[in-house]
């Protein structure tokens, strides 16, 4: 603004011109997208053993929503004394008091080739914006030290042999104690029903040898109740043979075996509670084999479930 009769002084003109330049520079700067996106490359460790891997993470971060920049997946970094054995990418957005932020990460798994120094070259990441602007960013190169393998091959010395002898002695003693403890527990469990499968199987075998049908099928029912209880978590003590029929499908994997189990369960009542007969039951051998298989299958299944849960 100028007033009539007043001639602007040269020094007075300098200030608005300077301000205009600053504003123009700021406007231009604001329009340059590369200033709003930061890139960084990081290794997860400075030294890596020969038999281990290191991870390089290239992270591009900017303010605003994730679609503010579109990144082109970069080529794998050039490496020295390393092999890139895997890569993955991920995007995330978050917000804090300063506003919304987004980041995109490219990670590379690096495996060293030999002991010594290794290097990771710069990674170039190209980007575009929805307004049509584009550009690229380059990370700094990184260095890595490759050390000797962690799992080294054993080299025997007389000291090692001595140590091994002592260790073997200790292991043997521990094993003997464990064996003794287990043996005592198993013997006790046969009396105290602590190990139900072993006790029931032993009872089944002994009843079959004696030809005692009622005792045999009683032990079979007891075993089936224990198996059902273990498999389903249902309390089975107060269940009868017929009550177990609906659970048959859960004790075995094959339908034919389930059908056979149902048949066995429906027969058990007649054997257990009808008057005893003198006829020898030829099915006892087959039944014993069948229930032993059930126990094995159950134990295998149990182990598999345990492994899967790990």
């Amino acid at each position: 603004m100028s007033y009539p009769g007043v001639v602007p002084h040269r020094g007075m003109l300098r200030v608005p011109l300077f301000s205009l330049c600053v504003v123009l520079l700021l406007a231009v700067g604001d329009a340059w997208p590369a200033d709003d996106i930061r890139i960084e490359a990081q290794l997860d460790r400075g030294t890596v053993a020969l038999d281990e891997t290191a991870t390089l993470v290239v992270k591009a971060e900017w303010e605003g929503p994730s679609d503010r920049f579109a990144l082109v997946i970069p080529q794998a970094p050039r490496v020295h004394n390393l092999i890139v054995i895997g890569s993955k990418r991920g995007t995330r957005s978050w917000a804090d008091e300063k506003g919304e932020h987004s980041a995109q990460e490219f990670s590379y798994v690096l495996q060293p080739e030999s002991e010594g120094n290794a290097a990771v070259g710069a990674v170039r990441v190209q980007f575009t914006t929805p307004e049509g602007a584009s550009g690229d960013l380059v990370t700094q190169p990184l260095q890595l030290r490759v050390g000797s393998p962690v799992h080294t091959r054993w080299r025997f010395s007389w000291e090692d042999v001595g140590g091994l002898v002592v260790l073997a002695g200790l292991a043997g003693y521990a094993g003997w104690r464990r064996w003794k403890k287990k043996t005592v527990r198993e013997t006790a469990s046969l009396r105290g029903q602590k190990d139900p499968f072993a006790a029931a199987l032993s009872e089944i075998a002994s009843a079959r040898r004696e030809g005692n049908q009622k005792a045999f099928y009683g032990a079979v029912l007891s075993l089936l109740k224990q198996l059902t209880g273990e498999r389903t978590g249902v309390p089975t003590a107060a269940l009868s043979a017929r009550d177990l029929v609906p659970f048959a499908g859960r004790l075995v994997s094959e339908e034919s075996s389930a059908e056979r189990l149902r048949d066995l369960l429906s027969r058990i009542d007649a054997i257990l509670y009808a008057p005893a007969t003198d006829d020898l039951d030829a099915d006892m051998d087959v039944t014993e084999l069948f229930v032993r298989n059930l126990v094995s299958e159950s134990q295998i299944g149990k182990r598999e479930r345990k492994d899967a849960s790990r």
């Binding site: 309390p235 003590a237 009542d269 007649a270 009808a274 008057p275 007969t277």
Partner: protein, 331 residues
């Protein structure tokens, strides 16, 4: 599994003798829709010579079921409506003075029948109830100085209404114990209800025929007693009854404070007999734990007396019995 000749013989006999069961059930089924359990329990009562307490709200065909059962077995049926002004003589009978002969002659009461329906038994005073319950127990009645044996078979089916308890005389525990079974009659299902509507509002009401004679029932009773019960089952029954008395010994320590009195030895006897009768209805010559479980609730629910604590906690006798069956190991 081949069965020995003894059991085969019983099996064959049971098959032959229990054939009437289906005929009775199907005859009663002409007029009663559903309520299969109630009908089976009535048959078990007949086969065991035990009396039954039926509990259910009005309108569940309790009276019709009992009268139909009496008709199917060609038995003499009497119905006594218990009221507060009923007298013992109205039930058992009384000596009547005959002026012409100048002597007393006995006029027998309605209890002299094969099947007696004591409707709303809790509405009559204690003296009437005890007169009837004594007759139930002794199978005989003394009027004046004369003692009369009751008919055989003799089955009392007493009904109780669980609602409208004002002005009633609840049966004492000692007298309830004389009923072999307490059967709770429930509402029919929706489909059964619809069937009832069709049957009772269209055409003629069906007629129930006599399909068996009382003598057949008496013969079947003897057969029921011959049904084999393994030692394991006997022990199981004893364990069940003992568990109602000492729940803590059967892993039911939480229920100790809920049981005032457990089941009596009479419960043991009835549970064994009723299990045999249940096996008979299933046409089987031996008892299984399934039979004991099937009939157990009806034998025990009125014999287990819950404490006030149980009532406060809303733990019913049925809940205690059910817990007992869930806890006692099946042999």
């Amino acid at each position: 599994m081949p069965l020995d000749s003894h059991i085969q013989e019983i099996h064959a006999e049971i098959e032959r003798e229990s054939e009437f069961v289906e005929r009775i059930v199907s005859e009663i089924g002409k007029v009663i829709v559903g309520q299969r359990t109630m009908v089976e329990r009535m048959l078990i009562g007949l086969l065991c010579d035990g009396h039954i307490l039926l509990e259910g709200v009005p309108g569940l065909a309790k009276t019709l079921a009992v009268s139909s059962l009496a008709r199917t077995i060609h038995a003499k049926f009497q119905r006594i409506q218990f009221t507060p002004d009923l007298l013992p003589a109205d039930v058992v009978g009384t000596p009547v003075y005959e002026q012409k002969k100048s002597t007393f002659t006995v006029k027998k009461g309605p209890i002299f029948a094969n099947i007696v329906l004591a409707d709303e038994v809790n509405r009559a005073p204690a003296k009437v109830q005890s007169a009837m319950l004594e007759a139930m127990q002794e199978h005989q009645v003394t009027i004046g100085d004369q003692t009369f044996a009751l008919e055989d078979p003799f089955l009392v089916l007493a009904t109780q209404n669980p609602i409208e308890q004002e002005g009633t005389y609840p049966l004492p525990e000692a007298q309830i114990d004389r009923f072999m079974l307490k059967v709770v009659v429930t509402y029919p299902s929706k489909a059964e209800e619809r069937q009832i509507l069709d049957r009772m509002t269209e055409g003629d009401v069906p007629h129930v025929n006599e399909v068996v004679e009382p003598a057949d029932i008496i013969r079947a009773r003897q057969l029921v007693r011959r049904i084999y019960m393994d030692e394991k089952i006997k022990n199981y029954i004893v364990e069940i009854v003992c568990a109602t008395r000492k729940p803590a010994e059967y892993g039911l320590a939480d229920y100790t404070d809920f049981v005032d009195y457990g089941a009596s030895p009479r419960a043991t006897i009835w549970l064994a007999l009723a299990s045999k009768a249940h096996a008979f209805l299933c046409q089987r010559g031996y008892v299984t734990p399934e039979d004991v479980k099937a009939i157990g609730m009806d034998v025990l629910r009125h014999r287990v007396i819950p404490t006030y604590e149980a009532e406060a906690e809303e733990v019913t006798a049925e809940a205690i019995v059910s817990k007992v069956f869930d806890s006692v190991e099946v042999p």
